[in-house]
Amino acid sequence: MKKAHDYVLAARAKDRPTGTDYINGIFSDFIELHGDRRFADDPSVVGGLAMLNGTPFTVIATEKGKDTKDRIRRNFGAPNPEGYRKALRLMKQAEKFRRPVACFVDTSGAFCGIGAEERGQGQAIAENLMEMMTLKTPVLSILIGEGGSGGALALAVADEVWMLENAIYSVISPEGCANILWKNTERAPEAAESLRLTAADVHSLGVVERIIPERNGNYALLFDSLRLDIGRWRQKMSALSVQELTQARYRRFREIGAQTV
């Protein structure tokens, strides 16, 4: 029986495909667009335009990087506020041109740095949550690896959220949780169990719509099946009016956790 901690390790594995692999594996003709038009271009978040079966999409992914040099450049996939602001700029652009948005999320969390705080990390995430909730175009978010807290949620206020079989989604890292509970990060495996962060747990709590099987690591097969699934999702969404779409999105989040109240 696989334990929660095994999923944590799998989600963080270095040989796992990263955000841009999904963009290039599923979509064609990717054109990357840079910058938040405020301050900087954050390489932790990659975004732009791409085609899926003849339909243009706005695609956004967090990117952890491929080798040491690339990982450092991309801050190990931990975005600064500029990353979230770039994502929001591209989503607003998608709204204007009525393109669907697909986000691929894989981050240990929003970066905890001095500059990030000074430039409003909390404000940037809050703005994404508010704006994504009423974005007048369909949004799909897929958790492909680590779904680390508010930094992941800031790209996952979507009409549907899917999660890969070995992905995790959590309010805090198991290490952070173990440190608070027992002042001992070595008890992270126990904390991982308690946090209920596996795809099966998160799905049973009503937080994601689908668990995507990883086909034993045959990623070409995975990308092919995701291409089909995303195409079907887009068709389903295109039948909805803007009002139906945003109403359903609001209700989706409004009802999560309501069973506990």
Partner: protein, 289 residues
């Protein structure tokens, strides 16, 4: 939505729900006790502190309970509580959560980490929420999310402004992913209230961090803060460990946020009521229909 809200809306049953008695002056009960200010080190008798809204002579704002704050902000006897009966359950079977809830209820004398209701401030009708630092450091789980979202929905239905005061360590870890989702839920409710042309004023008190900063705390049309309040996303210790250097002494202080453009004003406790009343008055809406 209106239907369920009305079901939850009931007449307050006792003084506590009505915003409580104005807290009795400690001078009457515990005349000898003094509190030491963590900022200047000076001791002040509680009776004198109470007279001064729990602000030290040096300006340091002592932590106060939600009900105390409501009594400082709202017009006398104007507060009616909403959703007073909601309380959290340990739905994930998280280690120690049940006990923590019990002890918090006992020590804070509250059922949850936020108090919501309707009130008047300087004669202006508003929906009001104040977070409770003595209940698990004002952390946000499903019930806090439900109460905040419910309040904004109620205010949107009634065309009322929302006045809120945040004091929070962020999302409540003990509710796992469900607490994270409350960030989206509350932000969505703030956005809908805003899209209806309604006014939202938020006052950030010490500390406002994590998932609360990254959701409804930053969604105000006007964002005020108490002097010296710590406001940020990541905890200072986590940042220090991440960047491996000493942080400046004023890191995440409200005064620095103001400089960086993330706050409208810093308002001393004694002026908060009149500043909020003036802002509510400017945003008064003629009732439609």
């Amino acid at each position: 939505m209106t239907v369920t809200l009305n079901l939850r809306f009931r007449k307050p049953k006792n003084e506590l729900e009505q915003g409580g008695r104005p807290p009795a002056s400690p001078a009457e009960t515990e005349p000898e006790i003094a509190r030491k200010c963590p900022a200047c080190g000076q001791s002040t008798p509680l009776s004198a502190l109470w007279e001064n809204l729990y602000v030290c002579r040096c300006g340091y704002c002592f932590r106060i309970s939600a009900r105390q704050r409501i009594s400082f902000l709202a017009d006398r006897d104007s507060f009616t509580e909403l959703f007073p009966q909601l309380e959290s359950r340990d739905i994930l079977g998280f280690p120690g959560y049940e006990k923590k809830l019990e002890s918090s209820r006992a020590s804070a004398k509250e059922r949850e980490a936020v108090v919501c209701g309707r009130a008047r401030i300087g004669g202006q009708e508003c929906a009001l929420f104040v977070m409770e630092p003595y209940f698990m450091m004002g952390s946000m789980g499903a019930v806090v999310g439900e109460k905040i979202a419910g309040l904004f929905e109620h205010a949107a239905d009634e065309g009322l402004p929302v006045v809120g005061c945040t004091v929070s360590g962020g999302a409540r870890m003990q509710e796992g992913i469900l607490s994270l989702m409350q960030m989206a839920k509350t932000s969505g409710a703030v956005k809908r209230h805003s899209d209806g042309g309604n006014f939202y004023l938020v006052l950030l008190a010490n500390p406002t961090t994590g998932g609360v900063t990254a959701s409804f705390a930053m969604g105000g049309d006007v964002i005020l803060a108490e002097p010296g309040a710590i406001v940020g996303f990541a905890g200072a210790r986590v940042v220090e460990q991440t960047v491996r250097r000493k942080l400046p002494p004023d890191f995440q202080k409200a005064e620095v946020l103001l400089e960086h453009g993330f706050l409208d004003r810093i308002v001393p406790r004694a002026d908060q009521r009149s500043v909020i009343a003036a802002l509510l008055s400017i945003h008064r809406r003629e009732r439609e229909g």
